[in-house]
Symmetry: C3
């Protein structure tokens, strides 16, 4: 099964998918660079006037509400509508959903009006969105409850792939749940690794379609790179630099060989 | 006295204060990462719709006018009002005050409507705000006059702690003035080290309260890390990377041992 | 002729020009740091209320439409008008011109209302603007046609200096065309190297005036630094860090010695 990660990363490198982002201004530069290092081509544009033209050129759209405001939420709705009409997959990163009413409400509006292909949040956000025990502290995950159950419930409800990041990552398409065990604890010490992961997912669904397998492949590619970066770093500053280098240099076959995926049998009918 | 720096940094690491920022888009990513490396948890949100909910969760609020506009200034007033009503300390970084009339006017409005706990600027900004000789060149300090006198006068006028950064840093609570001698000249060669310092101060006042001692502890923590980073770097790029690493790795006891603080006796009644 | 690059960089280092930017939020931090490393002093401000005061203090203005919206385009027009009235050179980076109608229209509006001193784009953008064969893919250059012909035609039409970046860079003042051969292929693997180059050009025209020679000197300074950085790096992350270090450390005489400039005789009357 892990062989899929090798194939997906190879496809990203070949296709060089254009990934359109409407994202926050905190981590946007890292998202752009991570997108290049993965093998994609990033574009960021958030004016409603510009979005339809730019989305039309893209292979995937990433909507990240990290520093949302009414103007950019409106642009996200425009982007989602255009993407839906053209069959372009949409990745939603509901940053801070559950922390404030405004964020929760905006996520609800986006999910009501846009057919989202992938929802990727941290464990707290996903648990809150699934209506399960879980907390969000600012934009970081607080306590998480039954994460495997939450990804499955949310995926089933919205008919999409859902991923929850954390020390262990979970991915579900509403039928099965996968547990992904790669990664580095240094990820938590760098702002925006969650946002960066959404950009990596954008590259993968842009090149390989929006399946649980391509989302799991994206997460594992990023996580394997983080394991390499951890060995080269002296702290969060050099970790981030090394993460870009390692992601750029990683070989598709390495990702497949090192992937550690398990099917959560309790959650699989 | 320097022992205080050790205790304050230990408290930050234990409490992991959530620091809400309304700040500029130039240096925001570095502010977020510096906040994590210090021991805090950063959140950035500038929509008036989102700010009340987010501020309510925070231990401190940092307002930085680096790329101000009418929408974000309005959000700063909302954030300040909510913070004041809940007793959450507010740190104001008046970037470029004195360089343009608009910036000067916005700073005046914020100080009129929000009870600020700490004002942290560069020497030029603080001298201009205190009405003393001093200039601001874009967003950098120009010539500074009597900086020790300026921090004291401004602190006394607004009933808060005032810090002026520069080759030597000054901190006053309106009664005494401290001179802080740690730091690295490489700081000037990286954009946003002043903004980053305000985020570090946010972590400290969030965990230890808004006293001159906790502000001096924050400045010294950042400065001691910069001394370590200077030894590891080849230029401004690697200095910034090393600054994050060193801040993350620094031991509270080291900060206290290496702190070089003097009381400016001429300014102390 | 390459001696000019040495003299221009020396002037930048002596003058420390204040460069005002209205630019995108994706690469703005790198632009600020590159500006410092070159020898300038960056300021970013995009509120129409603040722009006139800030532009008045600047030696050059850089307008970059990477994440344009109606509010910031309006501020660009204000900035351009103030700059023109004071004889301050304006550098325009038409990011993504040709990719969407909105971007193309905004560039046209800016060129209609502001006297621009330098247009700097990638080869695709410049070819599209010159009405020649060329494509833009998101914000990256697609296929480029006759780039040397395009810079000359565009420079002649607008009475300004035009530069097109790519594996080989071209600069024209409408009469002659220069081909600049320095640089590193790693530049393409980092988001915003084009934006950074516009900031370097801002420093040079701010200190040395807006001639083809000072634009070529700026490009070559950045490119020679990139050659050094390439030797020190392990991937795009460490390349960007090294690029800042190398730009900061580069000696003006080195730039002149290593510059590889050719006059394109076919395009010179």
């Amino acid at each position: 099964m892990e062989r899929l990660a090798t194939d997906c990363l190879s496809k990203v490198r070949d296709a060089r998918p254009l990934v359109h982002h409407i994202t926050n201004y905190v981590t946007v530069n890292d998202c752009a660079n991570v997108c290049i290092c993965t093998g994609g081509s990033p574009v960021m544009s958030d004016a409603a006037e510009d979005v339809p033209g730019m989305v039309g050129l893209a292979s995937a759209v990433v909507l990240n509400i990290g520093t949302l405001n009414p103007r950019t939420v409106e642009s996200m709705l425009v982007a989602g509508k255009v993407a839906n009409s053209k069959g372009i997959p949409v990745v939603l990163d509901p940053v801070g959903a559950g922390a404030t009413e405004y964020r929760t409400a905006c996520v609800r509006t986006i999910l009501d009006r846009v057919k989202v292909s992938v929802i990727k949040g941290n464990a707290g956000e996903i648990c809150v969105m699934a209506g399960m025990a879980g907390t969000v502290r600012g934009v970081d995950s607080g306590d998480a409850g039954d994460v495997a159950g939450a990804v499955k419930a949310l995926a089933s409800r919205h008919g999409c792939v859902v991923a929850a990041s954390g020390p262990v990552d979970y991915v579900s398409d509403g039928k099965t749940v996968m547990e992904l065990e790669n990664g580095s604890p240094m990820m938590e010490n760098v702002s925006g690794t969650g946002c960066m992961l959404s950009s990596v997912i954008g590259c993968f669904v842009g090149a390989c379609g929006a399946s649980a397998g391509s989302v799991a492949s994206a997460i594992t590619t990023f996580n394997v790179a983080s394991e390499d970066a951890e060995k080269m770093c002296k702290g969060p500053g050099s970790f981030k630099t090394a993460l870009m280098d390692c992601l750029f240099n990683i070989d598709p076959s390495t990702v497949g060989e090192r992937a550690r995926w398990n099917l959560c049998s309790n959650y699989t009918q």
